[in-house]
């Protein structure tokens, strides 16, 4: 063993920088302050959902991280690189899909990707293989020779994703990638993002489709009027807000006394009678969903349906935001 080995072993491992680190970010457009001191820490491999009404400051934050906002205050790092002093390096590790997809009407999909491969300065020897791969991944191979202008909106968004994958960035900034897509295209986009998550990409994504983000994101941040009003995992946010989980129940014997007994179970907030079911609001911190099922069985309820509602992000969003826009 050499003399240096013990010393090396004693040294703590150098912490890997966060994928995205924002501290007290402020963006002004003239006198209007669009972003008012946002701070975010997003570790590698995370899918962070950015939610907020129009004009809340989401796109401004994206533009800062994409090195397209020259004037801002605070600190913004991408993979430990300062966007202000090292913008060129940041562009190599980041891929940005803006909230609109402009087309080079005169290019085919293949030419479009070759154009950006040259813009990202990919080695010529690697270009063909990489472009073939991203076309395969995004299922666009059959459209390689089609003019970009003729593609559907969903295909254009997939092509935009293929474009940002060309230089294999560690961080993807996706500003409302599902906006305006039909259900099928939205599902395709979601699956594509899941595949990217599995590839270890860090994704910062904004969307208005809250249900979609809840299925995809490991953490979310809710932004309003330039402030982050809440951030964390969905469960954290629900806990913080003391939101009750709604469970839809249908029983064969819906007698009045059964309803009274259910309302008295500890943890049950209320039971609402609907046309063909009961909607039980449950305090999850007092009673788990599985315990409620057990309690119902013990109360001799003959269950034909027991359906816990997915975490209701819309409720959380409405509760956290006041509907104010800039």
């Amino acid at each position: 063993m050499s003399m240096t080995e013990p010393t090396m072993m004693a040294m703590p491992p150098k912490p890997k920088p966060l994928a995205i680190c924002i501290r007290d970010l402020r963006v002004n457009y003239g006198k209007f302050e669009a972003v008012k001191g946002i701070s975010l820490d997003i570790p590698h491999g995370e899918v962070f959902g950015f939610i907020g009404p129009n004009g809340a400051g989401k796109s401004s934050t994206f533009r800062v991280l994409a090195t397209l906002q020259p004037k801002f205050r605070g600190m913004a790092l991408v993979c430990g690189l300062d966007v202000l002093s090292q913008p060129q390096q940041v562009r190599h590790v980041m891929g940005f899909v803006p909230d609109f997809f402009g087309v080079y009407e005169d290019l085919t999909s293949l030419e479009y990707l070759h154009f950006f491969a040259a813009a990202y300065k990919l080695p010529i020897s690697k270009r063909k293989g990489t472009i073939d791969d991203v076309l395969t991944l995004t299922d666009m191979t059959h459209k390689a020779d089609s003019p970009v202008d003729s593609l559907s909106r969903g295909m254009k968004q997939r092509l935009a994703l293929a474009r940002v994958l060309l230089h294999d960035p560690k961080v993807l900034l996706l500003d409302e990638p599902s906006s305006g897509l039909d259900p099928r295209a939205r599902i395709e986009m979601r699956e594509l993002l899941k595949a990217l998550r599995e590839m270890g990409k860090t994704i910062l994504i904004s969307s208005h489709i809250l249900q979609e983000l809840s299925q995809l994101c490991t953490r979310i941040g809710i932004i309003e009027l330039g402030h982050i009003v809440a951030q964390g995992s969905l469960n954290d946010i629900y806990r913080k807000l003391q939101l009750m989980r709604v469970i839809h129940v249908r029983v064969e014997n819906p007698a009045d006394d059964l309803l009274d007994r259910l309302q008295k179970i500890p943890g049950v907030g209320s039971v609402e009678t609907q046309v063909d079911r009961w909607a039980i609001k449950l305090h999850e911190d007092l009673m788990s969903v599985a315990d409620l099922h057990q309690a119902l069985v013990e109360e001799k309820a003959r269950l034909t349906m027991f359906q816990p509602e997915a975490m209701d992000m819309e409720t959380a969003f409405m509760k956290l935001t006041e509907g104010k826009t800039a």
């Binding site: 994409a66 090195t67 397209l68 906002q69 020259p70 202000l84 002093s85 090292q86 913008p87 060129q88 390096q89 562009r91 190599h92 590790v93 980041m94 891929g95 940005f96 803006p98 609109f100 997809f101 402009g102 087309v103 080079y104 009407e105 005169d106 290019l107 293949l110 030419e111 070759h114 154009f115 950006f116 040259a118 813009a119 990202y120 300065k121 990919l122 080695p123 010529i124 690697k126 293989g129 990489t130 791969d133 395969t136 991944l137 995004t138 299922d139 997939r158 935009a160 474009r163 994958l165 230089h167 294999d168 599902i187 395709e188 699956e191 594509l192 899941k194 595949a195 599995e198 590839m199």
Partner: protein, 663 residues
């Protein structure tokens, strides 16, 4: 029922005027425009008063009534400026009136309201006439002062106001027609000015002789009130009657009114056509209007080629892929003004007529100053400058409008790389546009130079070679300056129309103002000549006659010529032409031609060299300024220092495609 109920609501007109009044630009333009027009009017007023004083009119400087009755002559000098202002401003004001609705995709919304197409057209017309009238109103205080001096008949004043009104209507209707026909404001802007210019030129050329020529209100005014000789109007009976001077003033006014009927009919026809095209061409694609034109022309040439040569192709467009300079590649391979095939068409269209005129000039030209060829040179330069300014100015705003700029800016390409590649992609276009210009220069060289004399001396051969190199270099240099200036002016703009109009207006302004100030024997020339003379006061050698110039006088004139050429946009070309004049054919008329005032080849060469170096410096400065400002104007930041480019890794493909994952 109140009187307000009778007045139609005119919602579109109200909206347009509200929008106009809420823009800061409206007031800035009005203020600057008013300052320019009022200054010009006041200068002319002073000039006229000075002329009258010097001619002994109104003797007795203390007499307050000495200028009574001189208003008419001042009025006749001022009013043409108002007509010219209408011709210059009206197309710019109205060309975007309908195209802007097409560009914003709001024209469909207008159609589904209860407004009829005719109402839309008329309210749009009204919304642009109001600012024009407001602008003209600003000059009325000056007209009132002139009227108060006496000598201006009331019929004269009323006739002028009526003709100004008709002038506004006529040019507004032309602009409106262009706006309803074209999809973008830029094309409507260019065609509005093109048609306005054509109408102004043709009416001045043919109004005298053709009975059916359209007399524009301006030429009616000249005919009726400025006292043209009636015999000059040949077959045009109305004009000859209105200008005959035999009629009673009221009768003259009636004749003027009658003479405006053709222009009013023309206005009505243009407005009706605008109404027709408003609906028919409401949803035309703006994406590739030029490409469509080229494709149509291309089809014609292909068929012609098939018939004549059996389909032989000299220039083929290869479908290559970008390797190193993607932006330049796209400009060259994918843009209508970059493809070799289309550029060759442009070359044929421009070079064919140019060569024809040059050949005619060479064949039938007598010994003269070849002013016709110089006019042709001006025309091909105007076309080239307009195309280059438009292309340069919209080079970034086109990306902005198509929402492709952000994707491009988020790549590692620096702003400098993007712009230099864009300009590199324009080099072919510049070469094509330069060929007709160089053809005219070459013809001028052949016509001006007596080669038997030239070949007798190696020095003169060298000078001819110098001139030839000079016109080639200055042509490309001037083009580069124009392109970089246009890029600079258009960098920040959010819309193509605004960037193109800004660049074209500023460059045209520079060309016109600098040509006026820096013309041979003009203000700047004389001012610098006088300054140099005053510095050298006491030097006895400067006294000399016109034909016997002293070295000091030659030096003074050379310095003045250098300064004039330096401020002029076309200074390099002018200075180079001075060499041709100095070395050229002794039979060629040389009076007031370019900057060879001393007729000395040495001074002409010095002027050409200094101005060439100045233009190189100017180009470098403009280029450097543009590249320096580019990141900020494009809305991003680039780092100055070098950095290590991280090696791009080939990412690991997940198993399967999206379809398989969903399945």
């Amino acid at each position: 029922m109140s009187i307000w109920g009778i007045i139609p609501e005119l919602p579109l007109l109200r909206r347009e005027l509200t929008e106009l009044s809420s823009r800061r630009r409206t007031y800035v333009i009005r203020f600057v425009g008013a300052i320019i027009v009022l200054t010009a009017v006041m200068l002319y007023f002073n000039y006229q008063v000075a002329m009258l004083e010097s001619s002994g009119y109104g003797v007795g400087s203390g007499n307050p009534n000495r200028f009574v009755g001189v208003g008419a002559s001042i009025f006749k000098g001022i009013v043409p400026m108002l007509f010219v202002s209408v011709q210059l401003l009206m197309p710019a004001l109205i060309c975007g009136s309908i195209t802007i609705e097409k560009e914003r995709n709001t024209i469909g919304t207008l159609f589904v309201t209860r407004l009829s197409p005719m109402t839309i057209v008329l309210e749009k017309l009204g919304s642009r006439l109001v600012p024009m009238f407001t602008f003209l109103l600003l000059t009325f205080p000056v007209l009132a002062v002139v009227y108060s001096l006496g000598g201006v008949e009331t019929t004269f004043l009323l006739g002028t106001l009526w003709l100004l009104f008709c002038e506004c209507l006529l040019y507004a209707s032309i602009g409106l027609l262009c706006s309803s026909w074209f999809a973008t404001t830029v094309t409507a802007f260019i065609w509005s000015y093109g048609l306005t210019g054509l109408l102004a030129v043709f009416s001045s050329l043919f109004a005298h002789d053709l009975p059916l020529a359209l007399p524009t209100p301006y030429y009616l005014w000249i005919a009726a009130f400025q006292g043209f000789n009636s015999s000059g109007y040949g077959n045009n009976w109305l004009l000859s009657q209105s200008s005959s001077g035999f009629l009673h003033p009221l009768g003259q006014l009636i004749f003027v009114g009658a003479a405006t009927i053709p222009s009013l009919i023309a206005t009505a026809v243009f407005v009706l056509l605008a109404r027709v095209f408003l609906v028919r061409r409401a949803f035309i694609s703006s994406a590739s209007a030029m490409l469509k034109v080229f494709k149509a022309v291309d089809g014609f040439f292909v068929r012609l080629n098939d018939r004549t040569t059996g389909g032989m192709v000299l220039l083929k467009d290869y479908n290559s892929l970008p390797l190193f300079d993607p932006v330049a590649w796209r400009e060259r391979s994918k843009k209508s003004l970059g493809k070799a095939r289309y550029l060759f068409r442009i070359l044929v269209v421009m070079e064919g007529p140019t060569l024809f005129i040059c050949t005619i000039a060479a064949t039938i030209s007598a010994r003269s100053d070849f002013s016709g060829l110089r006019g042709l040179l001006l025309l091909v330069w105007a076309i080239a400058a307009m195309i280059l300014a438009m292309k340069g100015a919209t080079i970034i705003s086109a990306e902005r409008v198509r929402e492709t700029l952000d994707a491009l800016l988020s790549t590692p390409l620096t702003a400098k790389e993007i712009l230099t590649q864009k300009v590199a992609g324009m080099q072919r276009l510049m070469m094509v546009l330069a060929i007709p210009i160089l053809s005219v220069h070459f013809t001028l060289l052949l016509l001006n130079v007596d080669f038997r004399v030239i070949m007798s001396s190696p020095a003169t051969i060298l000078i001819v070679v110098w001139y030839t190199l000079g016109f080639i270099l200055t042509t490309f240099l001037t083009m580069q300056i124009l392109v970089w200036l246009a890029i600079l002016f258009g960098l920040r703009s959010q819309s193509q129309s605004r960037s193109a109009m800004t660049a074209i207006c500023l460059i045209a302004g520079w060309v016109i103002v600098s040509s006026f100030l820096g013309r041979p024997g003009g203000y700047v020339f004389e001012a610098f000549n006088n300054i140099c003379q005053s510095i050298q006061q006491g030097d006895s050698s400067r006294s000399g006659s016109e034909n016997n110039e002293t070295p000091t006088m030659q030096l003074n004139q050379t310095i003045a010529a250098v300064i004039c050429c330096m401020i002029r946009a076309d200074g390099g070309i002018q200075a180079n032409e001075g060499v041709l004049v100095a070395v050229g054919n002794p039979y060629v008329e040389k009076t007031e031609l370019y900057y060879a005032p001393s007729r000395s080849i040495q001074s002409a060469l010095i002027v050409a060299t200094v101005v060439f170096l100045w233009q190189v410096l100017l180009l470098l400065l403009i280029r450097m300024l543009t590249l320096r400002l580019a990141p900020r104007l494009l809305g991003r930041f680039d780092q100055e220092s070098e950095y290590d480019t991280p090696e791009v890794q080939h990412f690991t493909m997940p198993s399967g495609t999206i379809s398989e994952m969903i399945a």
